[in-house]
């Protein structure tokens, strides 16, 4: 059985323009491998509901919520961030991935999106549906926690 075919071109354009943003956001929330997996599932959901999705003011934010909920539905344990490969260890503290995992989800989302993927505070605020000031608070608290956990970093 083949379902009714939505507007392929418009969805393809949407996916191409926004997949990186959605993938980064879900990597921040769920960890690398799972975040990418959830981004694929969320985009699949978006494809199925494209007619409704394209009328939304913030479709990426909506798919971000979908991806996080799907991840919770799989009942998996906390986020998993890959260990630092040996050839990167001079530049990246080996304890950094574990420290990221121990942040609260909102702190981690702010830290990863701003410092790993160079999002602006406004972009993160739009995604999370909070004010820029709130994102700044999450970011500062997350960076403080990371410094405390890792130690010896500026």
């Amino acid at each position: 059985m083949v379902t009714q075919k939505p507007d392929v071109d418009s969805f393809t354009q949407f996916a191409a323009a926004n997949e990186a943003k959605l993938r980064h956001a879900l990597i921040a929330a769920c960890g690398g491998e799972r975040g990418r997996e959830m981004a694929v599932e969320a985009l699949t959901y978006g494809w199925e509901h494209w007619e409704r999705l394209q009328k939304m003011d913030n479709p990426v934010g909506y798919l971000y919520v979908v991806g996080r909920n799907l991840n919770r539905r799989h009942r998996r344990p906390g986020p998993v961030f890959i260990e630092t490969p040996l050839d990167r260890t001079p530049d990246i503290e080996p304890t950094l991935p574990g420290a990221l995992e121990r942040l609260s989800e909102r702190q981690r989302t702010a830290v990863v999106l701003v410092h790993c993927f160079q999002w602006t505070l406004s972009e993160v605020a739009e995604l999370m549906g909070v004010s820029k000031t709130t994102v700044q608070n999450h970011l500062e608290r997350g960076m403080t926690s990371l410094r405390r956990q890792i130690g010896g970093v500026e």
């Binding site: 059985m1 690398g32 990418r36 530049d91 991935p97 989800e105 549906g129 709130t134 608290r141």
Partner: protein, 422 residues
């Protein structure tokens, strides 16, 4: 020395290398052959007779279970006078021009002088009866309904996207809240309760609660006093009490309190040094009795306080799903409780991010905090995403079903007049 920022940037590049772009055929392949992703998600995503039959069966079991549970508890010290299903009168308002956007596009609802205000799809919405809604201004995030008006979060007029607060007496005309110094006087996470909207400008925060803008925490109104819990600049949870919202006296926080501010996503629970318990909700009945719900790896615990400062564990029969410890490897945050709200006749309790929580897909209601029973609109489709908000004695149940567009809309319930508090 490599800075933390540069390490994070490097780590981001590593993530991009390993978990890079998603090709369109990864997204769409399954759709053209009408397959959904594997997992539980597929059951109610199809209009398959088996799924619908299962849904109906689950609905019947939920109703029977709720009634049985209630009946079983009826001989206890605080009997509930009548089944929960008879305590509320539900009215369904289908999706339409004069209806709120359905879940998950509506986020908060607040009440004021018998009217209601909500934010959804980026707009403020107002209603006098809870069923018929009018679209208002764009771009404000509702924070709270307060005496004399409403408080909303938005951006200032600088064009830089800085967060600030707005107040309104009617939900339609909004004024930015600005102090005499020209700076927003309110903390970033603002939850003052029961204040007149015109008095917000008079609030001041002592230096011990941190500078404005960096403050994060929440405030309870217990009796005639305000009790604040907040994170100080050293990231330590502190408490303060005030009679007037101006002069604050600090107190030592109870040991079981943990990361209040992040209770919705408490992955860092335990790293604050208080305990391994997660504060997952607090709710008030009457003017001077507060209950708090905490979660840990053993399940949930209910605490009682008459002043918001000293807490005692409260003997209660919580809904069975909340008593069960999470399974091996389960994120404890999943069993946390998101919404705990008070009506004049009792409390509602909703497992976090329902219906995705293994704690169950039901909302529970209790007259006294001891006995809990399932609360649902009579024709709610089980496992369909929905969300509950409680304003005064009105319950808003946003419903959405992938199997029936007729279910898109808003269930509004009012408490039956003959319900009495036990």
């Amino acid at each position: 020395m490599t800075t933390l920022e540069s390490q994070l940037a490097e780590y981001g590049e590593l993530q991009e290398e390993m978990f890079g772009s998603i090709a369109v055929d990864e997204i769409t392949t399954g759709i053209f052959v009408a397959k959904r992703p594997a997992g539980r998600f597929s059951l109610f995503g199809r209009r398959h007779p088996l799924a619908l039959a299962t849904a109906a069966m689950v609905a019947v079991l939920l109703v029977i279970g709720g009634i049985t549970y209630l009946t079983r508890q009826a001989g206890g010290p605080d009997p509930v006078d009548q089944p929960v299903s008879e305590m509320f009168t539900w009215t369904f308002h289908p999706e339409g021009d004069n209806s709120l956007p359905y879940y998950p596009n509506t986020y908060e609802v607040a009440g004021h002088d018998g009217g209601f205000i909500a934010n959804g799809n980026g707009n403020i919405w107002t209603s006098t009866d809870g069923g018929t809604w009018s679209r208002g201004p764009i771009g404000l995030g509702l924070r709270s309904g307060v005496a004399g008006g409403f408080l909303a979060e938005g951006v200032d007029g600088s064009g830089a996207g800085n967060g600030t607060y707005w107040r309104s007496a009617d939900g339609e005309s909004w004024t930015e809240v600005v102090s005499e110094a020209g700076q927003p006087p309110l903390p970033a996470s603002f939850s003052w309760l029961g204040l007149n909207v015109d008095e917000i400008l008079d609030l001041s925060l002592p230096a011990s609660l941190g500078p404005p803008g960096a403050w994060s925490g929440t405030v309870l109104k217990v009796g005639n006093r305000f009790v604040a819990y907040y994170w100080n600049p050293e990231q330590i949870l502190e408490g303060a009490v005030s009679d007037d919202g101006q002069s604050w006296e600090r107190f030592e926080t109870a040991a079981f309190l943990t990361e209040w501010f992040d209770f919705e996503s408490p992955r860092s629970m335990g790293d604050r040094g208080f305990s391994d318990r997660l504060w997952s909700g607090v709710f008030t009945i009457g003017q001077d009795r507060v209950l708090a719900l905490t979660a840990d790896l053993d399940g949930h615990h209910l605490w009682e306080s008459t002043d918001g400062i000293v807490w005692d564990e409260f003997a209660s029969t919580l809904p069975e799903p909340l008593l069960s410890p999470p399974g091996p490897g389960t994120d404890p945050s999943i069993v946390a409780t998101h919404h705990v709200t008070a009506l004049s006749t009792g409390w509602t309790l909703t497992p976090w991010d329902r219906p995705f929580s293994p704690a169950g897909s039901s909302t529970y209601f209790s007259v006294d905090g001891r006995i809990w029973a399932t609360l649902s609109p009579p024709d709610l489709i089980p496992d369909a995403p929905s969300s509950i908000r409680v304003v005064g004695d009105t319950i808003f149940f946003f419903t959405y079903s992938e199997t029936s567009e007729a279910a898109h809309g808003l269930q509004v319930a009012t408490v039956d007049d003959q319900v009495t508090e036990s």
